[in-house]
């Protein structure tokens, strides 16, 4: 009977012009979002590549200069001597490390416009080394509104579309008077409603998956390599589960037997609560529980530490003159700075990690949060992947530093051959299984409430209720 309802309802669905319009609108918006996301990923990828290439060119240039000196050319002034490991490490020679975008980066902008995707590393502390900031310049207007990405289309707009297609699932029939005739046939209200809802879900989920997949296909061939397909599967799975949740919610509201306007109000209210209010409140809770440490205080702290250390430096340079600072001493100063500021930076990261893990728990309060976190996670544009990147950069930074510091301590000069042996950085992606575990948890957090809602709706639908 269920399948019969699904089958015979087709014509009813097709007779509703609004359905075509709404799905068309969804398609247009998804297409724009996909295009917009893809182009902005391309832009930032190109920028990162250009910057990395420029840095490589700079290193090649230094190597050439050094080679010229080694070949008997005139010595360069101390402050521009690529052979002095202290000087070179302090700023002349740097390594630009970049967090590569995942194949799915275009689906969710996440924190991409906030966080540093590229970092220039020298032997200096990571904090003091980059005073101009690392994050891309997007302009406050866009940052404040957020990007028009697929995550927005699916998290925020898709439920509204589902609501528009389902708010009068039962109430519409009741108000038109057709429900009585339907129920005089050998079909139960529950079967009829579930069949109708399922058929609409089939259409919406079908269209959504096609759109989402089309967006992926346009994202390029990166998809086929590495964990691209696994990520794509997680993305589509989370999306389907989210749509399922909203259909279940619509069925549950319909089962209460109100008027269609009442249903629409209830569903829009639910949407407002779950998509806007709860995430806002969760954010309040998260920030109250783990307030981010003050960058403002960090600025003063850094300054205090640097100025003390700089005083020591000037004293050193004053006694030794321009040409010969005690490299050793310089290193200790830099290390000391790191030791002083390091714990504060660690606190920042810990606090952010604590925030994120609280969000991980609280996300289950709102399906919108679940899907958003899942999409950002799959797209690799969130704080988690960034934290992973930061941690790897830290390790690499030690390695980079050690390369120069070892030579400073040993009193060796850098040779042009050393420039070929500089440590290189490659980001190691999280194993896809742990990503799947997180996203899978989220999917469960969508499917379970959906099932509970459906079960509850089924008990409500057992009674026939008002017919007109």
């Amino acid at each position: 009977m269920f399948w019969k309802v699904v089958r015979v309802e087709w014509r009813n669905l097709l007779a509703e012009k609004a359905v075509g319009w709404l799905l068309g609108l969804l398609a247009v918006m998804a297409a724009y979002a996909a295009w917009s996301g893809a182009t902005s990923v391309d832009v930032s990828r190109a920028a990162a590549q250009a910057a990395v290439a420029a840095e490589a060119a700079q290193l090649a240039e230094l190597k050439a200069q050094l080679a010229a000196v080694e070949a008997g050319g005139p010595a360069l002034p101390y402050s521009r001597d690529p052979g002095d490991p202290a000087v070179a490490g302090r700023g002349l020679a740097g390594r630009l490390v970049a967090l590569p975008p995942t194949p799915l980066a275009s689906i969710a902008a996440g924190q991409r416009d906030m966080l540093a995707g590229t970092v220039r590393l020298t032997t200096q502390s990571r904090l003091t080394a980059t005073p101009q900031g690392e994050a891309a310049m997007t302009g406050p207007t866009r940052q404040m509104t957020g990007a028009f990405d697929l995550a927005f289309v699916f998290v925020v707009l898709l439920p509204l579309l589902i609501i528009a297609l389902t708010y009068d699932l039962v109430a519409g029939e009741r108000e038109r008077g057709t429900l009585a005739l339907v129920l005089s046939q050998p079909v139960s209200l529950a079967t009829f409603v579930m069949g109708k809802a399922f058929q609409r879900a089939l259409v919406v989920v079908g269209v959504t998956v096609v759109l989402a997949a089309a967006a992926l296909a346009s994202a390029g061939d990166g998809l086929l390599g590495g964990d691209g397909l696994a990520r794509a599967a997680l993305y589509l799975g989370a999306l389907v589960a989210y749509a399922l949740f909203w259909f279940a919610a619509a069925v549950a509201v319909n089962a209460r037997g109100r008027s269609s306007a009442g249903n629409a109000l209830a569903l829009v209210g639910l949407w407002l609560a779950l998509v806007v209010a709860v995430p806002g409140l969760v954010r309040v809770v998260v920030e109250a529980a783990y307030p981010p440490p003050s960058r403002v205080e960090l600025v003063n702290l850094t300054r205090e530490a640097t100025s003390e250390i700089e005083e020591e430096l000037t004293a050193l340079e004053g006694t030794h003159g321009e040409g010969a600072p005690a490299g050793d001493r310089l290193l200790s100063v830099q290390e000391e700075l790191d030791q002083r500021i390091g714990p504060v930076v660690v606190r920042f990261r810990e606090q952010l990690a604590a925030q994120q893990s609280l969000v991980d728990g609280l996300r289950f309060l709102s399906p919108a949060l679940v899907l958003h976190e899942a999409l950002v996670d799959v797209a690799g544009t969130g704080a988690l992947r960034q934290a992973r990147f930061d941690a790897q950069v830290d390790v690499f930074h030690h390695e980079w530093r050690a390369f120069f510091f070892d030579r400073v301590r040993a009193g060796q000069r850098l040779t042009s051959a050393d420039y070929d042996a500089l440590p290189a950085f490659a980001f190691v992606e999280e194993p896809v299984s742990s990503l799947a575990l997180r996203v899978g948890g989220g999917v469960l957090g969508l499917v379970l409430p959906a099932l509970v809602l459906l079960a509850w709706a089924a008990t409500g639908l057992r009674r026939v209720g008002r017919l007109a």
Binding site: V5, A180, L181, S184
Partner: protein
């Protein structure tokens, strides 16, 4: 003759208000039982109880021997229902509506031609079948309702004031349709205010008042004038 529609000691209360008190009724194949009575006398309640839309407070409703409460879906296979206003999906054509409900009723074997014929049989003009229902008059929609009953092959027909608001000609056509169904052996229960057609198509009439069946008469025994007199007498006291 087998009993198709049966009610035994049927009672329905809504929050202390008694809508129906102790109704006993048996309608057999080829019988048309007309329920007469003022608004609120319990006619619609009786029909809804047969449909299983509401559950009885006490007593039993059976269709072809099956209890409606226990075999809700099964009993509906035998039933057709025509409300005061047959409401159809306005954007679908008459044929599409008929097809929809017939498929829901489980008669998948009926093809388009058969359905078209049914519509014609129910008295709908041939060319009307492909127009959207939103252009239909009430009489046309009632005919689609009858067509649904025919197509379903229902053995019992429940009608709730099906002719109220129809013009005399349409009303007459409708009665003829019912007479044809009756002659085919369908058991019909009809709530109505139309004394004239009750006498014409009905085999029996029952007069209801405040949830009680206060009089039962075989129409063969009565003239039109008798029926009207009896009805008014019941209404007066």
């Amino acid at each position: 003759m087998a009993a198709v529609l049966e009610a035994q000691g049927l009672r329905k209360e809504y929050d202390g208000f008694v809508a129906l008190q102790g109704l006993d009724l048996t309608i057999e194949e080829g019988e048309v039982f007309c329920l007469l009575g003022a608004n609120g006398a319990g006619k619609t309640t009786t029909i809804q109880l047969f449909l299983g839309f509401i559950a009885p407070t006490a007593g039993q409703v059976r269709i072809k021997g099956l209890d409606v409460g226990q075999h809700g879906l099964e009993t509906k296979r035998h039933l057709a229902y025509i409300p005061e206003n047959v409401m159809l999906y306005p954007n679908l054509t008459g044929l599409e509506n008929l097809e929809f409900f017939t498929r829901l009723a489980g008669r998948d074997e009926l093809g388009e031609t058969a359905l078209r014929e049914t519509l014609v049989e129910a008295g709908l003009a041939k060319e009307a079948a492909d127009r959207p229902v939103r252009t239909y008059s009430k009489g046309m929609r009632q005919k689609v309702g009858v067509a649904m009953a025919i197509a379903k092959g229902a053995s019992a027909l429940l009608l709730d004031e099906p002719t109220s608001g129809l013009d005399p000609k349409a009303s007459n056509e409708f009665s003829q349709l019912l007479a044809r169904m009756r002659d085919r052996g369908v058991a019909i229960l009809m709530a109505t205010h139309d004394l004239f057609h009750s006498k014409e198509v009905g085999t029996r009439v029952g007069i209801m008042k405040q949830g009680r069946m206060v009089g039962r008469h075989a129409t063969a025994d009565l003239s039109h004038a008798d029926l009207e007199r009896i009805y008014l007498e019941h209404m007066h006291d």
